[in-house]
């Protein structure tokens, strides 16, 4: 049979963001594909060196709308290390709470998109409806649904009152109840299992060769999670359960995120209950002393790495960001070989694309 090349993107119903792929097929079998990134490249690393550190917090939050908080958290961690200041414990707890809430919202978003691609539209509606509860909590404490401006260099911008803490607890209980319904369906739905089991299996060796991170790596048995392995306080006190699966197929990638959502809800409850009293931020000078630092965090999609170099002024000399979707995208052409055309949406949904993160 002849080889046909199908272009997908940059605008395509399967994709929320512009990304260009060329998929080669013969009959119903996919032979491979190639990618063209760069549609969302806004030159953030260069712009960061032309703005002050304070302005950069605002800029970096807009690298990605879905995982905005973890980016500013990692950046603020880096700058605070260079400044030699320590964020008070209450501030760190609030940062971690927003991180875990963001993880829940990101996984529910992913679940809806996966369900939409696979044909379970009702699950999409339920997942995104439940996600509104998470956004309500985030809006209740920070004032923003998607972009919260929670972080500032030296701590967080707002405190949580007792009334707000009560609101969070009530909503977490409600969310856990509602979300259990959807998550139970996903875990036990035979149609979804039939659609995803055995599809595009990725071995642990391939994960290591392509330096893949996040749930995709953990779904192939690679046991690494920055919350446990390179923790910033209070993660060093929380006993984060790292979930891995050995199968490495699309079903494993689905199940991992479902289980991670449950784990994050558990962590949110602990963070609210155990939150210490005290201030939420310290004063930070605008000029940062000379130095270089590397910081890592666990975003919903995997390991985020920031390298910041300061030359003693109020603007960074170099900012380097590596987001988790970039190595996962480099694995995509390999994943696309030896699957069928009908499995393409399942594979794309399983890797949880965030092209805005990858392109910066």
């Amino acid at each position: 049979m002849n080889k046909i090349s199908i272009p997908i993107g940059p605008h395509h119903p399967l994709l929320k963001e512009p990304l260009s792929m060329n998929i080669e097929i013969t009959g119903e079998k996919v032979l491979g594909g190639s990618l063209r990134l760069g549609y969302v490249h806004r030159g953030i690393e260069k712009m960061a060196t032309q703005r002050t550190y304070v302005q950069d917090v605002h800029l970096i939050e807009r690298i990605c709308g879905i995982c905005s908080h973890i980016h500013t958290t990692t950046f603020c961690n880096a700058v605070e290390t260079l400044l030699g200041i320590e964020v008070p414990p209450r501030g760190l707890y609030i940062r971690a709470l927003m991180c875990e809430l963001e993880r829940v919202h990101s996984h529910l978003l992913w679940l809806g998109i996966l369900a939409k691609h696979v044909g379970l539209d009702t699950v999409f509606m339920h997942a995104w409806h439940d996600r509104e509860l998470v956004l309500d909590i985030m809006e209740g404490i920070s004032g923003g649904r998607v972009s919260h401006a929670a972080n500032q260099i030296g701590g967080v911008r707002f405190d949580i009152s007792d009334k707000q803490a009560e609101m969070i607890n009530v909503n977490l209980v409600k969310l856990k109840q509602q979300v259990s319904g959807v998550l139970d369906v996903i875990e036990n739905e035979p149609a979804l299992q039939a659609r995803t089991q055995g599809v595009a299996p990725v071995s642990a060796e391939l994960i290591k060769d392509y330096c893949v991170v996040g749930p995709v790596a953990r779904a192939s048995g690679v046991d690494v999670d920055m919350r446990r392995d390179d923790p910033w306080s209070p993660y060093d006190k929380l006993d984060v359960k790292v979930i891995t699966r050995p199968e490495g197929d699309a079903w494993a990638r689905t199940l991992i995120r479902v289980l991670e959502t449950r784990e994050s809800l558990r962590l949110c409850k602990i963070l609210v209950e155990d939150m210490p009293d005290g201030p939420v931020s310290v004063w930070a000078s605008r000029k940062v002393p000379e130095g270089e630092v590397v910081t890592r965090s666990e975003a919903p999609r995997g390991e985020v790495v920031y390298y910041v170099r300061s030359d003693g002024s109020d603007k960074p000399a170099r900012l380097k960001v590596r987001t988790p979707t970039l190595p996962v995208l480099s694995l995509l052409p390999v994943q696309l070989s030896a699957i069928h055309v009908a499995d393409i949406p399942v594979v794309l949904a399983g890797i949880d694309l965030c092209v805005a993160c990858a392109d910066r």
Partner: protein, 159 residues
């Protein structure tokens, strides 16, 4: 595999196995960094992988830095991450310096395919030339980009 890794052990092993001239670069917080000659990169990476089980490359950072007065170089930092044990992760970096007028270095994608995107980004942003691989097509910059590497070129677009 050595269970308790520290920088001195690693540098000693590298010097024994490859004979290359490497030294610790102490200024990067959170990442132990070793400054190595650019032509020894692949051999040092092989030592890290085979002797110490360090294989996960987080990213390749490139920057232009003034090494001494009147002398700039393009610095490439290869950031690695390894687990001493679950719960104890460490960062280790290899730093190489390339001359501004001839920034060439051997590509590592034959050993580590995951470095492909990172090398392509460094090539287009800094004009570094990676030898031993196919040409580096554009990764992030638009097809119609006519100016030089954005982080090096002094041309600023008018848009």
């Amino acid at each position: 595999m050595v269970n308790e890794l520290n920088l001195e052990t690693i540098i000693e092993k590298i010097q024994t196995e490859t004979g290359c001239d490497c030294e610790a670069y102490p200024n990067i917080t959170n990442d132990e960094t070793i400054l190595i000659p650019a032509d020894q990169l692949q051999m040092v990476m092989a030592v890290l992988r085979d002797q110490f089980g360090i294989y996960h490359l987080s990213t390749i950072t490139a920057q232009e830095r003034d090494i001494e007065a009147d002398q700039s170089a393009i610095e490439l930092i290869y950031h690695f991450f390894y687990l001493n044990q679950p719960g104890d992760g460490r960062g280790i970096s290899l730093m190489v310096r390339l001359p501004l007028d001839k920034p060439n270095i051997a590509s590592i994608i034959s050993h580590l395919p995951g470095a492909d995107f990172y090398e392509r980004e460094v090539a287009e942003m800094f004009g570094v030339s990676f030898t031993g691989r196919e040409a580096t097509p554009k990764l992030l910059l638009p097809d119609e980009w006519e100016h030089g590497p954005p982080f090096i070129s002094s041309e600023v677009s008018d848009e």
